[in-house]
Amino acid sequence: MISNYSTKIGLEIHCQLTGLKSKLFCSCHCNYREYSPNENICPTCTGLPGTLPLLNQTAIEKAAMVCMALNCTIPNNILFYRKNYFYLDLPKNFQLTQYNAHGITSIGVDGLLGYGQGEARIRRVQLEEDPGRLSYVKGSSGSLIDYNRAGVPLVEIVTEPDFHDPKDVRLFLNKLASIVEHLGVCDTSLEGAVRCDANISIGDSRRVEIKNVSSFGDVEKALKFEMTRQKAMLNYEMEIRGETRHWDEQRKITKQSRTKEEEQDYRYFHEPDIPSIQIDEDYLKELHSKMPELPDERKERFINYYKLTEHVSKVLIDHKDLADYFEESAKIYFAPKEISSIIVTDLMSYADDNSKKLGSTIRNIKMSPKQLAEIARMIKEGIVNRKTAKQLLYEAVVSGKLITSSENETNFRKIDDEGLILRSIENVFETESLAVLDAKKNPNVSNYLLGKVMELTKGRVDPGRALSLINKKLLEH
């Protein structure tokens, strides 16, 4: 039976070192996103004849930090290799990267990273340059090349095929993202800053590579799709081809790649223009002392110091920005439970139901940590109830203004008069007559009606009381 077949998943993650000022081998800006096409370039990153790569030493430092966080061994002699292949976005028609076939010389090897309940071995970490980008113009047969990105430093993190479930992949990637955020090496919210390729094999079948996945959520979806596809094929005794497939974001399926990626011979050899980099114990010791607090340590601190639950701590720390926002707020008014609960439950609802976007949500809201601290204070001191607090929070999030209760108290006063509540319910029943009919068959729809009532009353009725009135009304109807 196919259900006995084990699934093996390995990952290859490319993470731009967006925290650096300059590219890996020249002084052009690492932050290429702010420039018009081919504005952030120089003779070196466009591969003009006679130019030489000048290694950005800070990139070595940042990559070594990533390796330390992933518990890798860092060899004491680091080399760069040329990976030779032709492509339009590659200015030199070779990529400067690292390679371990002729001795271990990549920045890190043999790491291990725990996530959730599991752990995955890290085969290697290597430092390499990003190529440029191609874009195709509608209605034209030609394509345009932008070299602004060419030479931006990447760390490539390759895991062993230690995952069996796409959900674990998601957990691992969240953990990894949090680590690079905490190290300050990568802003994962930037488009294209983190890319993930995955490979998956079921039982004895051949390995299938999945490329072109731009978000962590989609990695999980793509892997789930592939598992279903491959298991279905095995059920029909069809052979699974070893191939590369691309994730189609629109249709949510994987497709066989149009361009045949046959076994390429990259003819790796040591780049003579970059002398070997010696890494000694002293360097590593100094680097170790400079390491920022990592997510696991921070989580422990949140649990022990702020007395937060394991779950809440994890949600906060999965996104460094959330954790930072929390700590800033808690520093102003020490109410960690209230503050974390507002962030994790209330603010989460503004985040498009997508936890990946939570990090950027916190960055984009207008409310300051100080205002959040103030709301938490009002809750804790019993000045407002939770529902009113929600209103205040909403106002603060969208307008950046905190309306204190004394200024505009009437708007937040609770409606206690049952007549007023019933009138609102009747109004809703009139405008939502179809939903009312549905609600008679499906009790879940009454929650929808409740939402409408809450909307109409601006949240000033007690939802429990309103719901029981709605249900009563439905029976009479």
Binding site: P43, T46, P49, G50, L55, N84, H102
Partner: protein
Amino acid sequence: MSRLCDLSLDEVTDGIRNQHFSAEDYVSHILERIARLDADIKAFVSVNTDHAVESARRIDSKIRRGEKVGYLAGITVGIKDNISTKGLRTTCASRLLADYVPPYDATVIRKLKESDAIVIGKLNLDEFAMGSTTEFSNFGPTRNPWNLDYVAGGSSGGSAAAVAAAECTASLGSDTGGSVRCPASFCSVVGFKPTYGSVSRYGLIAYSNSLEQIAPIARTVSGVVRLMNVISGVDPNDDTTRTVASPYSVESNGNHLRIALLNNLTVNAQPEVSKCIYSAMDTLSSAGCICEEITLDSLEFALASYYVIAMAEASSNLARYDNIRYGFDLDPEGYEWNSYFAKVRSNFGEEVKRRIIVGTYVLSSGYYGRYYLKAQKVRALLRREFKSLYSKYDVIIAPTMPILPFKIGEKIGDPIKIYYMDIDTVISNLTGMPAISIPAGFSNGLPIGLQIMSDDFQEQKIFDVALLFERTSKIQARSPL
């Protein structure tokens, strides 16, 4: 009274600084010679006339105003056309760079300009410096000024011929496997390959990065020494550069040094060449040097090792010439990009194609260990052996070329024969150690060069012996034309 063009580098800077003649007079004289002679010699690919005259006038007015001028003020330097010159076409004698104008100066060019040297023009070479005769140039061969039917050597044939014909005071070439020493020997001028890492390669269009150095050519040893004093040193634009022991001195005290003659190389040489090298050893002996003969068996593998490494690196270095960002006029309309690449790259010359193909082969999986890795091992072995030799000897001498210059076209059909010409010179590129070729005599009017090699950064020992030989051998640094 000698002609202005025949003056040595020191005589030119002294003459201009002391106002015996103006920089403009000198440059005009040189430009006139180029115009008159170069149609026959074909050393120049481009002549930098306007810039040269302008620079000369600027130097003259500085001198008239009593201002300080640079160390090389007023000398005319020809530049091999694989060294990037801002605003001045840099072709590598290839169709693929026919229209390429670099937007930046190589470090050596910046340093020359800062010392008030005048870039007089760009000089012919084998396409991408791949060759030993300058016959593999897209512009046609450079001719030997000593006999126009003969090859000038290569790949820096233009750089050596222009200096020999006194079309410039000095020149820069590049030496990957002997590319400066070979033509220096064939044209009877002085060519010096520095220790790897002495001179910045920033701006040198790479043929084989781990082997090559930019290398000066002049008619006298002191000319080369003075150029080295300007172009060498650590460059923040080249991470492979290292601190050097400059400034180098032109006061020779080489008469006490221990010299070994590498007789594997004289045994394999043409008898006329061999005879000349032994007589050079006698000259040095009589001048007070302690000379003896040695044999080194591992030299047998040097040539194969050199070509494997050079071609491997070349195959990768030349991959960037796809005509997408710069290059020559070839309409991409109607081509799928892969076929456009193929179309573009079919424009490389025969020798370049040969080296790309061999280089690609030796790096491919399954062959890497058999060729590239083995070549690197030979290289490491040679370095060890020479290191130990230099604990016993200060310098090692040998012929620069195993043969005399030959007629243009004579060997072009036999690439292996041409490769074998490099057997004496590739050693120093593999070890990374310095080596010079200086005029040692003539046979039937054809020049012979003496090669002097030494340990890493021991350039001064080489210069000392070369100066001593130059002074005692009395071979005059004169132009045949």
